[in-house]
Assembly symmetry: C2
Homo-oligomer: 403 residues x 2
Amino acid sequence: MFSEKHKNAGVTYAKGFKAAGVRAGIKKSGNLDLAMIYTEREATVAGVFTQNLVAAAPVQVSKNVVATGSAHAIVANAGCANACTGTQGQRDAEKMASLAAAELNCKSDDVIVASTGVIGVNLPMDKVESGIKNLVKELSTEGSVNAGKAIITTDTYSKACATEIEIGGKEVRFGAIAKGSGMIHPNMATMLCFITTDLNIDKNLLQGALSEIVQVTFNMVTVDNDTSTNDMVIILANGAAENPKITEKNSDYDKFYSTLKEMCTELAKKIASDGEGASKFLTINVHGAKTFADAKTVGMAVANSPLVKTAFFGQDPNWGRTICAVGYSGVKIVPEKTVIKFGGISVFANGVGANFDKDALDKVMAQRDIVIDIELGLGEVSATVWSCDFSYEYVKINGEYHT
Amino acid sequence: MFSEKHKNAGVTYAKGFKAAGVRAGIKKSGNLDLAMIYTEREATVAGVFTQNLVAAAPVQVSKNVVATGSAHAIVANAGCANACTGTQGQRDAEKMASLAAAELNCKSDDVIVASTGVIGVNLPMDKVESGIKNLVKELSTEGSVNAGKAIITTDTYSKACATEIEIGGKEVRFGAIAKGSGMIHPNMATMLCFITTDLNIDKNLLQGALSEIVQVTFNMVTVDNDTSTNDMVIILANGAAENPKITEKNSDYDKFYSTLKEMCTELAKKIASDGEGASKFLTINVHGAKTFADAKTVGMAVANSPLVKTAFFGQDPNWGRTICAVGYSGVKIVPEKTVIKFGGISVFANGVGANFDKDALDKVMAQRDIVIDIELGLGEVSATVWSCDFSYEYVKINGEYHT
């Protein structure tokens, strides 16, 4: 719903935000590869980062910025992850922030930096330097489209959305850009997602809401079970909407919370749907679990099974592979209590295959978007995991994507 | 070493064992699909089975046989897994045992049954019945080759080996047949492996040795991270070698133990090497871990990463994906202490890419068998995981393998 409405607005929809994307020469393709998001009015900042112990240099630098509680800008590049680059990489990430700060006339620790691309390669700092100068010249309220394109790698399109709500009599706007699309099995964050809002809100509430929401949105996505070294979700709230500051969990907070959750859900689903080589978008609803962790574990086991993923690619209603994954997930399921449905059609129940209408099921399997429901019959908790299939194209993209 | 020496002997190399494989019409291809292994002299039996909670009917039946401590025969089919088949499946598995018992003039609970193939399909019992009659007629000391062929599915060849040792002045022989090659991420056992020996040994010692050895052999193999519903490793020891019975952990036991371990290692490696669509055989040695569990976790994270697997398929020395998988494995590694080598050549050390000879590394990547060494620098424990790459062929086999 969001993306259709304000398709091109993204991170510049909220008041006081500008953005740009330029060709700095980091991507071999020559495409847009350096992005900036800027708010002159200081923004409250919150962020969640990869839990991979091999975190990239920009992750370390940006964690420090988030710790200060405020920021003015985000600079992000695609084509080079600046991960596993040692002290040189650390210096380069810091330099990226200080170069932007100098051009924007703010402090270095007001600048979030992010990178995505090949691991183990150093940033071409001369290109980054001239790119940052160009970015600052290009900053505009129409810049979100180029910024969104500049952060993608193997994504087939740039993910963006925007929306607005009313808080304390003021219109409050939200917008975001995000990218996938391989090495996607986020743990506390997804590859890259930048959210802007002109909401006026307390720093701790902002961070708390983001951390909670990421758990049930971006962290429920898996493309290939690989948790990246560079994952990062950042939200900047610059207060330009001039609503009375949200300082407690009241009805205004609830309104903000549900809006942010809806945005993150939409972007998370887009990342799964645009997974590398994906021909199917899979929504896996696990119901009747004892705990959220159990429901997620079952959903992730199914979503990450190469046999399940290739079966959906082949449009084969091979429910045996799905129940097999449920069985080895580690959760103490009871096969006889488990019910599996593809597109609402029962395929497994009472420990055996269900009698289904073959033609109706074939129609489900031929669709691009397929819902898998797994009822465990053990408790009251549900979880939804979003994923995609495994195709020849995934192997091609990742077998031929040379370092 | 074993397989070259007694290439065709397999399960009939040990004294007193006969085997056969026939075409019962269970596989659509019309290939050999029903196997029998028989010892007239009662054998001590030990087994390990899948930990998948959705275990197939034959797994349940065979567990009961192993609990009795002795057996005379194994009947196994390929082409139908008899999994998720409910009470009908349970009756069919029991019938398979009783039909064989009637022909062999032994008790039903002397017959191990095993199945592999499509999940959720009932066994064609008329074909099984006539097949079992033919099997008994065909039983011979040359029957291992056909038995081995009758248990494979997408394997490109039948895995077998045989060897002998001297115990108490007697020659003791061992032989085995095994199959892979998809849905391979064994937990307590692999798809199917049947081992025979004419050793005279106590039941508890036999089971203890098998259980221990499986942990470091078959359970260290992964093709696609999918733990099957039908995994089973069975050993029959009929005592025909007439060695003084092994009843304690003495030097004879040690000799037996190391032989069994060597056999299981060889078969485990063959299963990984013949993984569905595999073009590379990967040996992942993890050193310097604090515990075996940690070392295995790191090795499995690397072995199961689709990005690592597709990079090796593409012959790309993309060490960034390997260190990324090490980083998200869940083990508290220290990137700066971690060293990664491909084919003995350092590619990652001190937190950054190593300076390597590109031509020498390209030669390593072009080989079929590649050793990955991962030194964690945290402790003294090592583990080895065996796996394979991810190719177009894997997607083809599993996208087009219709139910």
